[in-house]
């Protein structure tokens, strides 16, 4: 029932509904953002349906022989194996699809955690002010002045292991931007009448933050979180490339490139597709984030 005259749900819902509809209408005018959005939808579908799309191969099994190459290891592309086989004789196309699952989930989950933690710190810091604000902001500045990648490398060598460790390692360093943004928003929002009215009728700080301040400071968070996805995908790929992220045999776009330099002369096709996949995905998220920024804040013609 996407009708603006349909007011049964009350004025508040109808208004917030039409707000997001307007945002989407503005986003639709942003051609490159829409192309990116569709591309990402296709990409996510490909990752979800990685099984049926990989022509009966799976990313873990060793192919015993292929007719067009003397050995299955590093065999060039051929029928049934559109991207060839990797150095362990595994189908590169299905590894690319399953790797997309890992890389995209790391990107999304880290960005979500980063946004949630950032929102939490930003709301508390901005709303309460005073010593709470000072402590949280000092901590944020401290985190921002750490050499991120060397620390990530050390951290992921300390807690080696699964997908969730990598998500943890990346998330630790991805909330500071959102915290600062939200704090800035809250500082101006809490001076406005509706917050004062909420305080006047005796709502608790937690409720004010949750019901009034959070939804109103959501716009920049969405933009920052979308842009953060591409950063997180690159972090995951980099750590996995260095051999410290997602470990074999689980495929990820980063660890597929792990040995790529070694096989540069014998099997250059192996290093193209995972890199292109990372590049176009991060490019799409960056364009989408940029489009969202314009759509959410029409006053800025950036």
């Amino acid at each position: 029932m996407a009708n603006e005259d349909y007011v049964e749900g009350g004025i508040e819902t109808s208004e917030s509904y039409s707000y997001w509809r307007k945002v989407f209408q503005r986003l639709k005018k942003h051609k490159i953002a829409m192309v990116s959005l569709w591309f990402l939808v296709i990409l996510i579908l490909m990752a979800v349906f990685a099984g049926p799309l990989s022509f009966g191969n799976n990313p873990y099994s060793y192919i015993k022989s292929v007719p067009w190459a003397p050995r299955p290891e590093l065999a060039p592309p051929g029928p049934g194996h559109p991207l060839g086989l990797d150095n362990m004789g595994r189908d590169a196309w299905s590894r690319l699809l399953y790797g997309g699952r890992v890389s995209l989930s790391v990107g999304f989950i880290c960005s979500f955690i980063g946004a949630a933690v950032g929102l939490f710190f930003g709301l508390i810091s901005g709303y309460f002010g005073g010593i709470t604000d000072m402590l949280i902001m000092r901590f944020t500045d401290f985190m921002l002045s750490l050499p991120v990648l060397p620390l990530m490398v050390v951290l992921s060598s300390v807690i080696k292991g699964s997908l969730w460790t990598i998500i943890f390692v990346i998330s630790i360093f991805s909330w500071m931007g959102v915290a600062r943004l939200v704090r800035g928003e809250v500082l101006s929002l809490k001076e406005q009448e509706f917050t004062e009215a909420a305080r006047a009728i005796g709502e608790t700080p937690a409720r004010i933050m949750w019901i009034h301040l959070m939804p109103n400071s959501m716009a920049p968070v969405i933009v920052a979180a979308t842009l953060a996805i591409s950063g997180n995908i690159i972090y995951e790929a980099t750590l996995s490339f260095l051999g410290l992220g997602i470990r074999q045999p689980t495929p990820s776009w980063g660890n597929m490139l792990n040995g790529a330099q070694t096989f540069m002369l014998t099997a250059p096709w192996l290093m193209w597709w995972p890199g292109i996949a990372i590049l176009v995905t991060t490019l799409a998220f960056n364009f989408l984030g940029d489009g969202l920024r314009d759509a959410l804040d029409p006053r800025l013609y950036r």
Partner: protein, 333 residues
């Protein structure tokens, strides 16, 4: 201003102290540096105990941290257990490796500043022109490009296929001068420099592209914002020539936030340098970090993280001071 400088430098001390403790704690979780000795049949368990004691490895974390900090400031000689040669301290090793890292990352930093500021301004002045679209696209490309893959691609294209640049390292082992091999260290200074520049071209390109995109976009939006300000309209209304309006009134104000951005991107630069060094096999401190972590060389890794943190903190500090100098509206008391 002087008071601001003093206050700002005093603030650095607790930050550095906190960073030192956190990184020390993290790195000390990395592994037991004495584990190698346990496997060695020539080393008696008592000796391992003694070594642990000498290096305070059997003390509580805080005590150990204190000794480590003392050793970091007044280094004592290392040992033959790690990447360190016998009698070499971690700082000595780092000081031998650090010049090349500083050389190529500062070159790319300067190149990125020189490229991104004028291009960003141009992009903003010609908003929605073909040039703006092309620059925007390239900026997004640079922002989205995974550094390590870009490095690999450049190596493939320019080193493997075209043979224009070397694929790895930052200088050759020896030169042939008049048919006689001459070691790199003994060669004339200008030959050394040219050879290093030739080796470092691709890494500098990688690191520059990594930084330019975001700054270009930021410069563009900062310029667009300033361009619509009232004082710019006033300047135009006064009948000032367009050049004066753009460069004296708009540009000077638009460029100030970039200083903060550059200061904030120091951690990114260090990360980028680390990846670039690993991909191009350059023996700087970035690659040293990676090797230290991979071989669980606790002492070297700790010293490196500390050096990186100091570099980042100093970078932020310098950016703050530049900001204070560049923006006369801000009063520091």
């Amino acid at each position: 201003m002087r008071n601001y400088l003093i206050r700002r430098s005093l603030e650095l001390i607790p930050v550095l102290f906190a960073i030192a403790f956190v990184s020390f704690w993290l790195v000390s979780k990395m592994g037991d540096p004495f584990a190698v000795l346990v496997l060695n049949p020539h080393v008696r368990p008592e000796d391992i105990q003694r070594l642990r004691h000498i290096w305070h490895w059997d003390d509580p974390l805080v005590v150990r941290f204190w000794y480590w900090l003392k050793d970091f400031v007044w280094p004592r000689q290392g040992w033959g257990l790690s990447t360190l040669a016998p009698g070499q301290t971690a700082l000595q090793l780092i000081s031998r490796r650090i010049p090349v890292t500083i050389a190529f990352s500062s070159t790319s930093l300067i190149a990125a500043i020189i490229l991104s500021i004028p291009l960003g301004v141009y992009s903003a002045l010609r908003q929605y022109s073909v040039a703006d679209y092309i620059l925007t696209f390239f900026a997004f490309f640079g922002m989205s490009m995974p550094t390590f893959w870009f490095g690999i691609m450049l190596i493939y294209l320019f080193a493997v296929k075209l043979h224009w640049f070397p694929a790895a390292g930052y200088h050759r082992a020896f030169f042939i001068i008049n048919g006689v091999p001459v070691m790199f260290d003994k060669a004339p200074r200008w030959m050394q420099f040219l050879d290093e520049a030739w080796h470092l071209t691709l890494p500098i390109i990688v690191l520059t592209v990594f930084q330019v995109g975001g700054w270009l976009r930021y410069m563009r939006s900062s310029m667009l914002e300033v361009k619509s300000m009232d004082y710019v309209r006033t300047a135009r209304a006064k009948g000032l020539p367009e050049r004066t309006v753009i460069y004296k009134h708009a540009f000077r104000n638009a460029v100030i936030p970039i200083i903060t951005l550059i200061g904030l991107s120091f951690p990114g630069l260090i990360g980028g340098a680390m990846i670039t060094e690993t991909v191009f096999a350059i023996d700087g401190i970035g690659r040293l970090t990676y090797n230290a972590v991979m071989s669980q060389d606790v002492f070297v890794a700790m010293a490196l993280i500390m050096i990186f943190s100091i570099l980042v903190v100093i970078g932020n500090f310098l950016a703050d001071i530049f900001y204070a100098v560049a923006d006369p509206r801000i009063r520091y008391s």
